[in-house]
């Protein structure tokens, strides 16, 4: 059924369709981001008159300068960097040791702990908003960055642990056993030998958690009420409600807010696939 000419044609058709579909996915993924960028550089006076044009007739950086110099945005941005950075850092440490234990030890109660962590992935986090607020308020942890960091770290530890575990599972046990026979304790072996080997895994976990904390909105809205502790999702939404919406400025702030999350994600997305592959091989 396949003469050489026929199969060459089929191949062309196949790869043609392949590239066409890939192109469609790329356009679908990027167009909204393009639109965000477009609105952010459109001068205010033609924002509505040229609202649906693919590119405005004039462009301006005014929205960016305003956001950077006249608004609270740099402050929100710093708050978000502190919160997301600390969350990613603490989550990684905790997830690394826990993931290592899940990967290497068998111990009484392990199943219960794993089950507990799985369950936390399933129930509506919204239902924790009210009780967490009530628990944190008397401790002085509402309206504070520390409170947000603690809450976000707890939320991210379960998934990060499973991710780290899959990386550890991919590393042969002989390595730290050899080190232990040489007189190292297990923890030393873990820290000196295993951890450096999982750097891609740690990068993936850091990036994943940073991105998640960077975009969290509902808990930040509920737990933070003052300007001084606002992360930028909260600050950005206050653009909408307080100043009668200046869209150009809001989108400019949005583009700036996008940069760290996307940079992080582009760096780590390859490792994320790798890590999940390692996990899948084992499971």
């Amino acid at each position: 059924m396949s003469t050489p000419g026929n199969s060459a044609l089929r191949k062309t058709v196949y790869w043609g369709t392949h590239y066409l579909m890939i192109a469609a996915f790329v356009v679908f993924a990027l167009f909204p981001l393009y639109w965000l960028l477009k609105v952010s550089v459109t001068p205010n006076d033609i924002l509505y008159t040229e609202g649906v044009r693919m590119w405005p007739s004039r462009t301006t950086w005014d929205n960016y300068t305003f956001v950077m110099t006249q608004s609270n945005f740099p402050h929100y941005f710093m708050n978000s960097v502190i919160v997301s950075g600390s969350t990613a850092f603490f989550t990684c440490i905790i997830a690394a040791v826990t993931g290592y234990a899940f990967s290497r030890f068998r111990f009484r109660g392990k199943i219960i702990i794993v089950a507990l962590m799985l369950i936390t992935q399933m129930f509506p986090l919204v239902m924790l908003i009210a009780p967490i607020f009530r628990i944190l308020a008397p401790l002085g942890l509402t309206d504070s960055l520390t409170g947000l960091i603690i809450v976000y770290t707890a939320f991210n530890v379960p998934f990060a642990t499973f991710l780290m575990q899959s990386f550890f599972d991919g590393i042969p046990k002989d390595l730290e056993e050899a080190a232990m026979i040489d007189g190292n304790t297990r923890f030393e072996a873990f820290r000196r030998i295993i951890l450096p080997l999982t750097l891609p895994g740690i990068a993936a976990t850091l990036g994943f958690v940073f991105t998640a904390a960077w975009s969290e909105l509902l808990f930040a809205l509920m737990l933070v009420s003052s300007e001084s502790a606002s992360t930028f999702p909260v600050g950005l939404l206050s653009f909408v409600s307080k100043f009668g919406v200046d869209f150009g400025q809001m989108m400019a702030a949005g583009v700036l807010a996008l940069i760290p999350a996307c940079a992080f994600f582009l760096l780590i997305q390859r490792y994320l696939v790798q890590g999940l592959t390692a996990g899948a091989v084992k499971g």
């Binding site: 030890f105 232990m180 026979i181 997305q269 390859r270």
Partner: protein
Amino acid sequence: MDGEQAVNTMTDVGNRPAARRGVFSRRVSGILEPYYYVSPALVLIVAVMLMPLILGLSYAFRDIRILNPFSGGFVGLAHFQTLMHDSAFLGALVNTAWWTFGSLFFQFTLGLVLALLLNRHFVGRRLVQALVFLPWAVPTFLSGLNWAWMFNPVVGPLPHWMVSLGIMETPFNILSDPDLAMWGPIVANIWFGIPFFAITLLAALQSIPGELYEAASIDGANTRQQFFSITIPFLAPTIAITLMLRTIWIANFADLIVVMTKGGPADSTQIVASYIFTQAFRRLDFGYASAIAAVLLVLLLAYALGVIALRRAMTHADS
């Protein structure tokens, strides 16, 4: 089995003086060792998730309104009785099903197609992969705001495109039409969620041993046969688990709706999770919010158990 024993049984036991040194004390610390590793995570999860969960469940039976200092008493099942007649809640239940399965169907189908496309080697694959996964990194509220903007006929292109395609007669904002509004957040959610399925399914695809395909093609199986007899069975466990986890996750995912429509117009996009948030955040009625949350928890639990039972029944039927 503790760590110490694991070492001894894993490696060939025998003349290893270092491993036998101080047998007793090392054995005790060996038994305790795993718990040192897991305790930070355990403490954090119990304090920040488990305790609030239990507290939250108790709120469902109490009158807790932040602005009312006299609240706090037990009200028994009163919240649940109110819920039974709360038409906004009943509507939200239907909307939740619609929102969840509408989003999930497209996220999964398109995510699977994308994973299959990315699983072939082609020029520029790495760059493409980075670009198509990007929506996942975009902060949710930002994509919500942006999609809401794009659906607006004054400043967004989408209504005009729909007119050109003949789907729409005149450009209007679907977010302000109660019959269509849900599609707005669903489209934004599809955009945001495709990368998740693509990443997990791609990882699963890459872990299928290549020899299987070689053997199959030597046996004369064509591409389609290979797909249905190798690829799909291999992906099935990943598909089952991600679909289940994702269903629950999407049902709980209120951010996009809160940002894009706030549940409106006329509660037409209110899902249970956003309704909980509205009750807790805007009305500060923690008691009622917790009662709704408890109902949602029970429903999701029933769903998860149902799926697991179904899976078990199906795998038993297979073997």
